[in-house]
């Protein structure tokens, strides 16, 4: 079965610093990959999705970017973090035609 690795689990960063969050998957090939952000006590906001290497679609304009350098690697980045970038970042994969998504454990980012 597939496994999703996200690290770190928690991160505290100063405003204006860069960010790189990595998501790697095992046990599957050619998955659709997703980055979501969840503000405290709120719903899931889709940030980016990727259907293949080098293919990134952005759902909302923002201070973040994403890349997929390998089939099983999805990276979320920022050059300069804002306070509003704080939140719970979740990576998810989707494989097969049923459109079910499986989530990683997430990274809690606090920008101070």
């Amino acid at each position: 079965s597939q496994t999703i690795h996200q690290w770190p689990a928690t991160l505290v960063q100063p405003v204006g610093s860069p960010l790189s969050l990595e998501c790697t998957v095992e046990g599957t090939s050619n998955p659709n990959l997703y980055w979501y952000r969840q503000a405290a006590g709120r719903g899931l906001q889709l940030l980016f999705y990727s259907v293949g290497i080098g293919q990134i679609s952005s759902e909302v304009p923002q201070n973040l970017s994403a890349s997929r350098p390998q089939d099983r690697q999805f990276i979320l980045s920022s050059k300069k973090l804002l306070l509003s970038d704080s939140g719970f970042y979740l990576c998810a994969l989707q494989r097969g035609g049923r459109y079910i998504q499986y989530f990683g454990a997430g990274t809690r980012l606090s920008v101070l």
């Binding site: 006590g41 719903g43 999705y49 679609s57 979740l90 049923r98 459109y99 989530f103 454990a105």
Partner: protein
């Protein structure tokens, strides 16, 4: 754009009481899914409904998909403290972007023992 509305936002119940959360879409869905997120955890897939009028059960949980495939509900009978968490519905629209899901904002359930 497509929206999925979920109510209520919060629900506080006494252990043993029933609980229901409702989900409504602005457009017809190809399928609807339900996820549970425990406090401090990540969303975990519970079930998928595909057919119009479909009803599925998982122990004390009953899931329904409306006849028009625009609404859904999750009903928990005799809640337990282990049911605590946020329940999200997520719909996939016909012709949507490569299987992307539109998530409702979730219903946060708290259970008082």
């Amino acid at each position: 754009g497509q929206q999925v509305m979920q109510i209520p936002q919060y629900q506080h119940v006494q252990e043993g009481e029933d609980f229901t959360t409702y989900c409504n879409s602005s457009t017809t869905l190809s399928n609807i899914q339900w996820y549970k997120q425990r406090p401090g955890g990540h969303p975990v897939f519970l079930i998928q409904l595909v057919k119009s009028g479909e009803v599925k059960k998982q122990k004390r949980l009953t899931f329904q998909f409306g006849e028009a495939k625009k609404n859904s509900s999750l009903h928990i009978t005799a809640t337990q403290t282990t049911d605590v968490g946020t329940y999200f519905c997520a719909g996939s629209a016909y012709g949507g972007s490569q299987g992307n899901l539109i998530f409702g904002k979730g219903t946060k359930l708290s259970v008082k023992p």
